[in-house]
């Protein structure tokens, strides 16, 4: 299998800044993310604090970033990364269908603004999970409930319905839902996951569902779920001045490392992370 020098997770300002800086140094990189680069970028109506671009809109800035990476032949891999395992010498990066290997990893995940729901942390791994396709076979002939925060969650629900006895789908967004007949849609607000020792039911505003498992499918799982063993501090990834995390060879940059949540801080951190990763790579070669 090809082993990349650096894998960058996230295609927002911090990830892109890391990518261009690593590419300039001739490193073999792979970057995972979104086709529209970053939702936070597209949503910004007016940006007045990005040096050199006074009064630009988020989408205009996005287009400039896109042109920059196109010119440097950097292509975004739009697969979602489900897990990253520190194997010692390298990192194994898992998406739904494939495994990638990289010597260094830069986490440029942004921040998930939605709060965990009541009971989520307590029952994590005891019926609560963040990757339905990963654990689906454990729910053969059981009842599974999926809280879907994006379109991709629909295909996970369809997949789980091939094994589970019953699948409930709670959409957390408005759209047309492409779900098969075996999946029951419940339009209601989830309040709490309840169970002693393991998940027993999901309490919603107007109803309750008895269930063996609850999967919470957002754009990104919490960083410490994504990278087992990763140290956090006040809800953010803990880094030092070199943007190193507690795991050797794993760096983090941008909103995921803490406030302020700003473009220029994000691109600066992405650059520092990439340059340090490059440095480390060349010291390995020596």
């Amino acid at each position: 299998m090809e082993r990349y020098d650096i894998a960058i997770i996230g295609s927002g300002p911090s990830g892109l800044s890391a990518a261009i800086n690593a590419k300039v140094r001739n490193k073999n990189i792979i970057i995972f993310g979104n086709s529209n680069l970053s939702r936070s970028l597209v949503l910004a109506p007016k940006v007045n604090n990005y040096l050199g671009f006074y009064g630009i809109s988020g989408t205009e800035l996005r287009d400039k970033f896109q042109k920059h990476i196109d010119d440097m032949n950097i292509n975004i891999n739009t697969e979602k990364v489900n897990n990253i395992y520190a194997m010692g010498e390298y990192f194994a990066i898992m998406t739904a269908n494939k495994t990638y290997e990289a010597k260094k990893v830069i986490l440029a995940l942004g921040i998930e603004h939605t709060k965990p729901i009541e009971g989520e942390d307590k029952l994590l791994g005891r019926g609560v999970g963040y990757c339905a396709t990963c654990d689906a076979p454990l729910y053969r002939n059981k009842i599974v409930t999926i809280l879907g925060y994006n379109k991709e969650a629909e295909s996970e629900a369809n997949y789980v319905s091939e094994m589970a006895n019953k699948v409930y789908y709670i959409p957390m967004y408005k759209d047309e839902y492409e779900l098969n007949d075996k999946v029951e849609i419940v339009k209601d607000k989830p309040l709490e996951i309840v169970g002693s020792g393991k998940v027993e039911k999901l309490v919603l505003k107007n109803t309750e569902i008895s269930t063996d498992g609850v999967f919470i499918l957002k754009d990104s799982a919490p960083p410490q779920q994504l990278v087992p063993g990763l140290e956090m501090e006040d809800g953010h990834i803990k880094v030092n001045r070199k943007m190193e995390t507690n795991i050797e060879g794993c760096y983090a940059a941008g909103d995921c490392t803490g406030k302020p949540y700003q473009y220029m801080k994000a691109v600066g951190e992405g650059q520092v992370a990439a340059l340090n990763a490059v440095e480390e790579l060349s010291s390995i070669l020596k």
Partner: protein, 105 residues
């Protein structure tokens, strides 16, 4: 070496031991389990004298998996005198796995 045990041998392999027993619940379809396998192998070589290491395939051994409420794999459980004393859900890097296990030696 990590011994493969099953529903039938579980009690005798795990239940009646003086030293702590580390049980790795896994399945062949589980990606993270494949990653954790070699990590546990390495640790078992290092801690061989103080700790016993076994693994249970949850596909073939539903009784053990149900009894210990395995809802996500890999799950590593640590037993002492037949009683579960710790449950570690999901992959973790070698060093952090070692320090969790060493707490029970």
């Amino acid at each position: 070496m990590v011994k493969e045990i099953n529903d039938v041998s579980f009690e005798s392999e795990v239940g009646t031991q003086d030293k702590p027993v580390v049980v790795d619940f896994w399945a062949p379809w589980c990606g993270p389990c494949k990653m954790l396998g070699p990590v546990i192998d390495e640790i078992s070589n290092e801690l061989d004298e103080k700790v016993k290491f076994v693994k249970v395939n949850v596909d073939e051994n539903p009784l053990a998996a149900n009894k210990f409420k395995i809802a996500s794999i890999p799950t590593v459980m640590i037993f002492k005198n037949g009683n579960p004393v710790d449950t570690l859900v999901g992959f973790r890097p070698k060093q952090s796995m070692v320090s969790e296990i060493e707490k029970h030696i």
